[in-house]
């Protein structure tokens, strides 16, 4: 048994190592602007935020809709901290304000600070909000996300947040270097490493005694409390940790986009992340990751043709016009929500045995059909 477990663990690590090597190779061979790399980067960022949301919704049973707000805090903290001080004072970004924060930090500190700042806000928001139940909690967190957005856009905070205007020229993915050298860090690999470590930490947390407590709360609050689990403390912990990683993914998103602006972090963004979690399966980490890559690849790349006049070689500019992609996409989402409400993975995790089982089943069916013919 123990041996089996070790073997499985080794396999998982090997698979992860191989995928990172593949990414490195892709990065070396493809053009840096290739759509595949773009989609991989964004997919990894969304994986992280989807997993962080899953920690709350799927593992702790807290229906929170504040993810966009915490990403916003992370993105802004990162952008403000890592923007070189000469840029801040040169009036090219803070054009209408006197910049207040005139120092700058490196990428690593920026990322950690992004997470910490989001966690701090989550802690404060959690104090009143986590006493609420299910949909009241959802709507209250949604409300807080909107308030955060409005505060970031407030003129009075202009010297820090640049008002409602864009933040740019901070250290984005193209400027990240390998530590102690001037060699640029392969951007996709960087995103994968940061997102990968973060997700790994979440997985470790879920498998710890805290994780078991979270699941107990999800399954039955009253029973969990009766067993001596401090409900509020564990909810707060889950909320803060989830927000910490949402903050980091916000920072990564800022790096990926080159520019960041409070306006984009609307409730629609949280809904998107929620839909990813649902498609992947509530309570499945690997499901969230798969769904993120699928969602981003489809919406940003493969279904683009639906908007641009020709799709699958069919030219129909009147049918395939702007907006059709989103329409098709939302129909697909509704089908998944209504007919496959367990999502891709349900609450199971991806594992070798499951893949084997899946292939065998398919193979058998195929064989059967051939035999019949």
């Amino acid at each position: 048994m123990e041996k089996e477990k070790k073997k499985r663990l080794a396999l998982i690590w090997a698979a992860i190592a191989v995928s990172y090597i593949v990414i490195l190779i892709l990065e070396m061979t493809l053009r840096p602007t290739s759509m595949l790399l773009t989609v991989l980067k964004k997919g990894a960022i969304y994986s992280l935020v989807a997993v962080s949301m899953n920690l709350l919704n799927g593992f702790t049973g807290l229906f929170s809709l504040g993810q966009a707000g915490f990403m916003l805090i992370g993105a802004y903290t990162y952008a403000i901290l890592t923007m070189p001080s000469e840029v801040k004072t040169s009036e090219s970004v803070y054009k209408y304000y006197q910049c207040f924060i005139t120092f700058d930090t490196g990428v690593f500190i920026g990322l950690i600070a992004a997470g910490l700042m989001a966690a701090l806000f989550a802690f404060l928001i959690g104090l009143p909000v986590l006493r609420l139940k299910s949909d009241y909690l959802a709507i209250a967190t949604l409300g807080f996300a909107e308030i955060i957005r409005a505060v970031c856009q407030w003129d009075v905070l202009g010297p820090v947040t640049n008002g409602a205007n864009l933040l740019r020229r901070y250290i984005d993915l193209t400027y990240v270097t390998i530590p102690f050298t001037d060699i640029p860090f392969p951007p996709t690999l960087f995103v994968f490493i940061v997102a990968g470590i973060s997700i790994l930490l979440i997985v470790l947390l879920i498998n710890s005694s805290y994780g078991r407590a979270f699941k107990a709360i999800r399954d039955d609050e009253t029973a969990a409390e009766a067993m001596g689990i401090n409900l509020f403390r564990h909810k707060e912990l889950s909320f803060v940790i989830s927000s910490f990683f949402a903050g980091i993914s916000g920072a990564l998103l800022a790096m990926f986009q080159y520019t960041v602006q409070a306006q984009q972090f609307k409730s629609m963004m949280t809904y998107e992340i929620l839909l990813i979690v649902v498609i992947g399966g509530i309570g499945s980490i690997s499901g969230s990751c798969i769904a993120s890559f699928l969602y981003i690849t489809l919406s940003e790349w493969w279904l683009r043709g639906l908007d641009m006049g020709s799709f699958l070689g069919i030219d129909a500019p009147n049918l395939f016009r702007s907006g059709f992609r989103k329409l098709v996409f939302s129909v697909i989402i509704m089908i998944i929500v209504l007919f496959f409400s367990r999502g891709i993975m349900g609450d199971k995790e991806l594992s070798l045995t499951r893949i084997k089982g899946f292939i065998n089943k398919r193979g058998m069916k195929k064989g059967k059909k051939e035999a019949e013919a």
Partner: protein
Amino acid sequence: MIGFLHDNLSYFLSGISVGGQYALIAIGYTMVYGILRLINFAHGDVFMIAGLVMVYLSSSLPFTISIPLVLIITVALGFLIERVAYKPLRSAPRMSVMISAIGVSYLLQNAALYFAGGLAKVYPSIPWLSSSIVIWDSTTKMVTVITPFLTIALVILLSLLIKHTKIGMAMRAVSRDFETSQLMGIRINSVISITFMVGSLLAAVASLLYFSNYASVTPTSGSMPGLKAFVAAVFGGIGSIPGAVIGGFIIGICENIIKGGASIFGIPGTGWTTFSDAFTFAFLIIILIVKPTGLFGEKQVDKV
């Protein structure tokens, strides 16, 4: 005091008018929540679709036909959404239904984006409603004055319906106890459908009034009014119709006071207008924490 009221009458007028429109939408939220315990996120988008349908219908039909038609189509849409997206999930966890609601909202917005081409559509000016009038030196549209009266009239009608008809009684029974009322022989599906249809009808009326005032329809023009109406419903105590109406008026008025704050109170240059939307949510959170049941809500006991 009179002087203050006179100088700022136009703010209060627009506040009361938009508040009445929020109130009409809020009733849809509060009734559905009362029965299904579902925040119907798609309700604001139903409101938007009603506006869009009006834009298209009125381009070829006279108002006497297009207005009733808009009401009918919106009611049908509300019915359809419930049947397709919520009914199959009746036994599913509450979160799944809410996600389905978010999905419907996404679908309606994207459908509007595709069919309307992504640009703002100019809402037709309905002859009498859109004309300007002067009240006590403040110029405004007729619809501003009509809205509060129409809202209150509709609410009274609705209360009569709920108190004195059979279907109203069934609604009250279902919202009190879903399962028991089913056992008592109430046809729960038709009660739920009728609830959605009443909500949609009021949303359609609200869209007529709202878009006559703010004459442009975009795919996202339903989401903000929708959220605000929901806050109004929570404020009044979810499930309570008079509560939703009072909540709607308060939010509408406060919002306009914030936008006009610089002029009303003479404190310019602080950029408070940034918070005209966020205020609503701050308000919501304070209520949820201080008095989670709202003004007129009933206390709910969790069953173990």
